[in-house]
């Protein structure tokens, strides 16, 4: 047999709203002014939550916290394409997507206060708790997308992970499962250029992260992750495809503008000039200018949005503090099994006796 090419691939990359504010009119998604303002408010909402959380952590009121500052377009743009009954399968930096999909900010804060209560999923909310082990949760999204298909339902699962996560075998396994079982799953790789200190050039030899889908035989697209209109455009397409059993990987090109977590000091591994460069490319700024230029966003609206956000955050912080005050340590025994096994019962009794003794 003569030599021949048996497979080829190309990677599509999409941008709708460019950095210099030019808009691709053919690609611009069909969103009403109200919807555009909602997208904007959601981005601001998450940004303020992160800022407040960092400040609270510095005051010792929260534990380690992973801000999503700079990644709001990548997350809000994708999560905004979901329906209410769709599933969100996050890693640990998904505040923007969580807020859009209905998680209350006080749940985020409780989790950051080291309370399991923050990972309780309210009735009717299609979400899994944060996944700390990098790259572990896309398999859950593959399973959800598969399970929904098996039960002839239309819901999709969307899962978020980073550039670093693609190095974990689990992420490939997830995309491959999704491909084999026509799972109703959208994979979102936020290429924020860093895995803690490790830059993307050390993470992989591939030119894009999108092409990681090729080996699994599922569809993929790259998008400017700081362009919320572009992100929404590709996400809506991906969600539609996934609903019909065609899983998709989206690579969103973005930048982690802040520290990896509040325990991290980026000056150990990157230049502040690089950070300033990306500050100018901030996704919220770009979208804000777009809305202002079109007369959709004025000062008054901005003020009203800011007020709503601050009010909501203030009560979320109060709520989280109250729940912390009420925390029952013995709860750690009560959710391990449906019925408390005898050995745990004994351990709980000893624990309570000891705690009771302390007060005497």
């Amino acid at each position: 047999m003569p030599e021949e090419t048996v497979a080829q691939f190309h990677i599509r990359s999409v941008q709708v709203l460019s950095e210099d504010e030019t808009v691709d009119d053919e690609l611009v998604p069909d969103l009403s002014d109200d919807e555009l303002l909602t997208v904007y408010e959601q981005m601001k909402r998450s940004r303020r939550l992160d800022e407040r959380a960092i400040a609270l952590q510095r005051r010792g009121e929260l534990g380690t916290y992973a801000p999503a500052i700079g990644q709001e377009a990548a997350q809000v743009g994708t999560a905004f394409a979901l329906g209410e009954d769709d599933w969100l399968v996050p890693s640990f930096r998904e505040q923007p997507a969580l807020l859009v999909h209905g998680t209350a900010p006080d749940a985020v804060l409780q989790y950051a206060k080291g309370m399991e209560e923050g990972a309780e999923i309210p009735d009717g909310e299609g979400a899994l708790p944060p996944a700390i082990p990098v790259g572990s949760q896309p398999l859950h999204a593959a399973g959800i997308g598969w399970g929904e298909a098996l039960q002839d339902r239309e819901n999709v699962a969307i899962t978020y992970f980073g550039d670093g996560a693609t190095s974990e075998g689990d992420v490939y396994e997830a995309m491959n499962f999704a491909g084999v079982y026509d799972a109703q799953t959208v994979f979102v790789c936020q290429n924020n250029r860093y895995a803690i200190s490790t830059g993307i050039e050390k993470q992989t030899n591939t030119e894009t992260f999108a092409q990681k889908a090729i080996a699994a035989g599922i569809d993929c697209v790259q998008v400017d992750g700081n362009d919320v209109l572009g992100v929404y455009r590709v996400a809506r397409e991906a969600v539609e495809k996934a609903r019909s059993g065609e899983p998709v990987l989206i690579e969103a090109l973005t930048y982690r503008r802040s520290m990896h977590t509040t325990s991290d000091d980026p000056s150990a591994y990157r230049e502040s000039e690089e950070e300033s460069e990306w500050e100018a490319r901030d996704p919220i700024l770009r979208f804000q200018r777009y809305l202002e230029d079109r007369g959709i966003l004025d000062e008054e609206t901005k003020g009203a949005i800011a007020e709503r956000i601050e009010e909501e955050l203030a009560s979320a912080i109060d709520e989280a503090n109250e729940r912390r005050e009420e925390l029952d340590p013995a709860d750690m025994f009560r959710h391990v099994y449906q019925d408390l096994p005898p050995e745990l019962e004994r351990q709980l009794a000893a624990f309570e006796a000891e705690k009771g003794g302390e007060g005497e």
């Binding site: 309370m115 399991e116 082990p133």
Partner: protein, 322 residues
């Protein structure tokens, strides 16, 4: 020559010394290069050894599995797994290959690899950053499981681990990384498999390792009895003789660990005492351990972890028996 170092500095010092001594040593793991590790345990090493210190992709199966191959070529892999629970991502490589290569090939291919990993609670870390799975590692034939409890111990035990012909899981207690300084000798080797009698005593033997040793020493301070404190230092191989001899002398024993109680290492130690010192016992052996619950997030971790008060109460129960 010796220096007063913190534990995390003793790790770095040892890695530097072994990189200098042996060209086959390679140090690698997530963020260990440019950033010097998330705890700064490898800070500066990449500057001195740019060809033998590597930032890896985020892939623990890769880190552990590639070690098998590196070792097969004659190198001495010294890998860092950023937090102990992420070694689960490399568990199949560990249990199926690292631990078994020597026996499967009847000693023709070996895996002299050291896997360093921070473990344990007490620093208010994120979920899944505070586990202590030593019993699981000790249960895998072929691995050695090593626990330093001070800067000088770190130097001696890590040096021996890196030089060991067999694979070692080296468990570094995060909460001791920066908690105190100690004189750390140069060129210090502590044989793997030898316990240390930290404090001699006559009335009771207390066994504790890693960060729990510090809590135990605090607890013992408040007890008006002669307590012998033993740090096994390696849980596999375990220095049964030192523990048995001590219990034959004291007749009483308590064992402390922060891992959950069921199937924890205390059970194994009790079984050995049952085999070799049963007739010397004057009281049931007490376990002061974590509970059979997933290591809680930090709002509840102080309630989960054995502290000096709980350890003291456990020791008193044994002393007052009979």
């Amino acid at each position: 020559m010796s220096e007063r170092l913190r534990m995390v500095e003793a790790v770095r010092d040892t890695l530097g010394a072994e990189l200098a001594r042996d060209d086959d040593v390679v140090v690698y793991g997530e963020d260990v290069g440019e950033a010097g590790g998330v705890f700064r345990a490898t800070q500066g090493l990449i500057d001195d050894y740019p060809d033998r210190v590597f930032d890896t992709p985020v892939a623990e199966a890769g880190i552990v599995g590639a070690g098998v191959g590196l070792a097969a070529t004659g190198m001495r892999p010294v890998a860092e797994i950023q937090f102990q629970s992420f070694l689960y991502q490399g568990f199949h490589q560990l249990a199926q290959h690292v631990a078994r290569m020597r026996s499967r090939t009847r000693g023709t291919i070996t895996c002299p690899m050291t896997i360093r990993t921070p473990y344990g609670g007490g620093i208010h870390a994120l979920e899944l950053h505070s586990e202590s799975f030593e019993a699981g590692f000790a249960h895998i034939p072929g691995l050695k499981v090593v626990f330093p409890s001070s800067p000088a111990e770190t130097k001696g035990l890590l040096t021996s681990s890196i030089r060991s012909p067999d694979p070692v899981i080296f468990m570094e207690p995060t909460r001791l990384y920066r908690s105190f300084r100690e004189e750390v000798p140069d060129d210090h080797e502590i044989p793997l498999g030898e316990a240390r009698v930290v404090e001699p005593g006559e009335d009771i033997t207390v066994v504790a390792w890693g960060s729990m040793l510090r809590e135990t020493l605090d607890a013992v301070d408040d007890i008006d009895a002669s307590v012998e404190v033993i740090d096994p230092r390696t849980l596999y191989p375990l220095d049964t003789e030192t523990i048995v001899d001590s219990v034959k002398k004291t007749g009483r024993c308590a064992i402390v660990h922060e891992a959950p109680k069921t199937a924890g290492m205390a059970g194994e130690i009790i079984a050995r005492l049952n085999e070799e010192a049963f007739l010397y016992l004057e009281a049931p052996i007490e376990r002061v351990t974590g509970y059979d619950v997933p290591m809680p997030m930090f709002a509840r971790e102080d309630d989960y972890l054995p502290d000096a008060d709980r350890i003291e109460a456990g020791i008193r129960d044994v002393l007052e028996f009979g």
